[in-house]
Amino acid sequence: MLTMMITGAVVLGFISFSSMFLIWWERKVSAHIQTRFGPMRVGWHGVLQPIADAVKLLLKEDIVPCSVDKRVWWLAPFFVVVPSVMAFVSIPFGKNLIAKDLNVGILYIIAVTSVGILGIFMAGWGSNNKYSLLGGMRSAAQIISYEIPLILSIVTVVMFSGSLSMQKIVEAQAKCWFIFKPCLAVAFLVYIISATAEVNRTPFDIPEAESELVAGFHTEYSGMKFAMFFIAEYTNMFIISAIATTLFLGGWRGPLLPPVLWFLIKTYGIIFVLMWVRWTFPRVRVDQLMGLAWKVLTPIAFVNLALAGWLLLK
C-alpha cells in the first residue's frame, strides 16, 4: 500500500515536472527555429517560465460562460487529464522502474488513452460555442480514425515480441531494437504518424486549428481548466513518445548510462522530432487528414501486418 502511494506520488510529480519542462522546451525549440530567443527573463534562459505561467493560471479568475452545459463542461478537463495520468502505470522507465507490469500493458495504455477523446468531445459540446463544437467534432473523427493504424502497428510489434507486457516487449529487444527489423520499421513510421495525429499536433492539429477555429475545443476555457488541457497535451506527447521508445527503440536498454537515463534520452529525442515537425509544416485539411488515415495508413498497416505474419511463420 505504502509503496503504491509513493509510486503514485512520484508518477504525479514526474508528470507535472515533465510537462513543465516540455512546455519550456517547446517554447525554446520553437523560438530557436523561428530565430527568436523565447523566454529569457525568468530564471536561467527562462527555465522558471512554466512555474510563472502555472502561478498565473492558478490565480486567474475561473470564468464560466453563462450558456455552457455546466456538468459536462466542468468534467471535461478531468476526462482529458486523468486517462493520460493513468497510462503512466505501465510505462517501464527502467528494469524495475514500473508502477505495475500488467500482462496486458500495451492494451491497457491504448484503452485508457482512448478515453481522453471523450473529454475533448465533452469540452467541445459543453462549451456551447460553434468553434468549440467544430473542434470537438473534428477531434472525435480524427482520433477514432487514427486509432486503427496506430493499433495495427502496435499489433505488429506484439506479434514479434509475443507478449502484451511492456517489460516483455523490452526484453524481446535485447538483441536487436525492433525499429531495425524489416516490418517493424514500417510499423514505426505508421505509429509515429498516427500518434502525432492522436495527440493533435501539427500537421494534424485540426481540432484546435488556430487560424480556423480560434482555439477549437478549449476556446471557452480559462485559468486552471485551460491548464489541465495543456498538461494533458504535453503528458500525452510524453506517453506516445514513451510507447515508441518501448516498442521500437529498445526501451530503457542501452550501454553505460543507467537505464532510466537511456529511456528519457530516447523519449525526449522523439519529442524533439515531434516539435521540429510542428514548427516546420503547415496543417493538413480535415478531409485530407481522414484520407491519409483511411486510404494510406490503414492499408499500409494491414499489408505490413500480413507481411509480418508471413515472416514469422516462414
Binding site: L134, T280, R283
Partner: protein, 376 residues
C-alpha cells in the same frame, strides 16, 4: 432565427450551421467579418461585412491641403505606405502638370520596389500562417522585412507610416552609404527567397493545401476587376509598370510573372517571383541613379488649376488609383481612392462556395487583402 433545413430525411435530419468569422478572429487579416453558412464543414454561402476600420479618408481629404493629405495615404495600405504616397503624389503632379527630377524618379522607384518586397513578405508569411504553419515562415519573412524597415528608417526616420514622398519629389536625398546597404540587402534577400521556396513551394502539405484551391478563372478575375498578383496568377499578363509605365520603369528590364491555374498556390508563386523581379529593378535603379536635385523648389501651398486627374499605379496588392477633382483652391474638391483590396475581397464569396472552412482561411490569405485600404 430562421433555420434552413439541408436534409429532411427521417434518419438524417440536418440543419444549416451559421458561423461568424470575425471581426475578432486570428486570421481575418484585420477587422473583417465573414458571415459563413455551413453544411457540416462545407461552406454554402459567405457574406463579407466590411466597414469596421472606416476613417472617412476621402472626406478628410476635402479639408486638408494637398501636402497635408500625404500622411493619410500612409494609412491606406499600411504595409506598403511608400507605394500609396507615390500614387497620390503622382496624381497631384499630374493635376499640376509638374515634372520631377530624374534623381527623384529613381529614388521613388527604389523605395517603391523595396516596399513591394516588404509587402509581399507579409503576404507570403501570413498566407503560410493561415495554412497552419505555426508562425515559422512568418517570422522568417518579418526578419527580412525588418531589414527593409531599417533602411527606410535611415532614409526617412519612420518605420511604418513613412510620409516620404512629396509633391515634386521626395522629402530628402538618400543618406550617404545607403546604396551599399541596399546592395547588400539585395544579395541577402535573394538567398532568403530561395530559402522560402525550399521551405514552402514544394512542401507536400503546402501543395495539398494550396493547389487547386480557390481557382479564380480569367473571366471571373476580369469581371471582378481583380488586379495585381491575383490577376497575374490567373494567367493575365497585366502590370502597370510594363503596360502603362510611370516614373522610369520603362528603363528597367524585368519580367511579369504569371500563373496558370489561378489557384492559391499560383498566387503565392507569383508573389515569390515578384520578389525576385523587384530586387532586379532595385539593383538596376541603384546602378543607374543620376545625380541632381531630389525635389523641385517646394511651395508652401499648392493650388492646382481647376480640373481633374486620375492616376493609377501598380501597388503590391493591385492597382491603386487616385481620382482628384480640383476647384483651384488649396484643398481637393473631391478625392476618390480606388483600392485594389476592395475588388480582391469582393471575389471571396464567389471563391469559397463549396469549399471547407479551412480553405476559406487559405483563400482569404492567398488573396492578400488589407482592411486599411478597403475601409479607408
Amino acid at each position: 432565427m430562421e433555420v434552413n433545413v439541408i436534409s429532411n430525411d427521417r434518419d438524417l435530419y440536418s440543419e444549416e450551421f451559421s458561423i461568424n468569422m470575425g471581426p475578432q478572429h486570428p486570421s481575418t487579416h484585420g477587422v473583417l467579418y465573414l458571415d459563413l453558412r455551413l453544411n457540416g464543414e462545407t461552406v454554402i454561402d459567405c457574406v463579407t461585412h466590411i466597414g469596421y476600420l472606416h476613417r472617412s479618408m476621402e472626406k478628410i481629404a476635402e479639408n486638408r491641403t494637398y501636402t497635408q493629405f500625404i500622411p493619410f495615404t500612409d494609412r491606406l495600405d499600411y504595409v506598403a505606405s511608400m507605394n500609396n504616397n507615390l500614387c497620390y503624389v503622382l496624381a497631384v503632379e499630374k493635376l499640376m502638370n509638374m515634372e520631377v527630377s530624374d534623381r527623384a524618379k529613381y529614388i521613388r522607384v527604389i523605395i517603391a520596389e523595396l516596399n513591394r518586397v516588404a509587402s509581399h513578405l507579409i503576404a507570403i508569411g501570413t498566407f503560410a500562417q493561415d495554412l497552419g504553419a505555426f508562425a515559422t515562415p512568418l517570422f522568417y519573412c518579418f526578419r527580412e522585412r525588418e531589414k527593409i524597415i531599417e533602411i527606410f528608417d535611415e532614409i526617412c526616420g519612420n518605420r511604418l507610416t513613412y510620409n516620404y514622398m512629396r509633391i515634386g519629389g521626395v522629402q530628402s536625398d538618400l543618406p550617404k552609404g545607403i546604396d551599399e546597404r541596399i546592395k547588400y540587402f539585395i544579395k541577402y534577400m535573394r538567398s532568403k527567397v530561395d530559402d522560402y521556396e525550399a521551405l514552402l513551394t514544394n512542401n507536400i502539405i503546402f501543395l495539398a493545401r494550396a493547389k487547386n484551391i480557390g481557382i479564380l478563372s480569367k473571366d471571373a478575375a476580369v469581371s471582378y476587376s481583380i488586379t495585381g498578383p491575383n490577376l497575374r496568377a490567373s494567367g493575365i499578363k497585366w502590370d502597370l509598370r510594363k503596360d502603362e509605365p510611370y516614373l522610369v520603369y520603362d528603363k528597367f528590364k524585368f519580367d511579369v510573372p504569371t500563373g496558370e491555374n489561378g489557384d492559391a498556390w499560383d498566387r503565392y508563386k507569383v508573389r515569390i517571383e515578384e520578389l525576385r523581379q523587384s530586387l532586379n529593378i532595385v539593383e538596376q535603379a541603384i546602378a543607374g541613379i543620376p545625380e541632381g536635385p531630389v525635389t523641385v523648389k517646394p511651395g508652401r501651398i499648392y493650388k492646382p488649376p481647376a480640373g481633374e486627374a486620375y492616376l493609377r499605379t501598380e501597388n503590391p496588392r493591385g492597382e491603386l488609383g487616385f481620382y482628384i477633382v480640383s476647384d483651384g483652391s488649396a484643398c481637393p474638391y473631391r478625392l476618390k481612392i480606388r483600392a485594389p483590396s476592395f475588388s480582391n475581397l469582393a471575389v471571396l464569396s464567389e471563391l469559397v462556395k463549396g469549399v471547407k472552412v479551412a480553405d476559406v482561411v487559405s483563400i482569404l490569405g492567398s488573396l492578400d487583402i488589407l482592411m486599411g485600404e478597403i475601409d479607408r
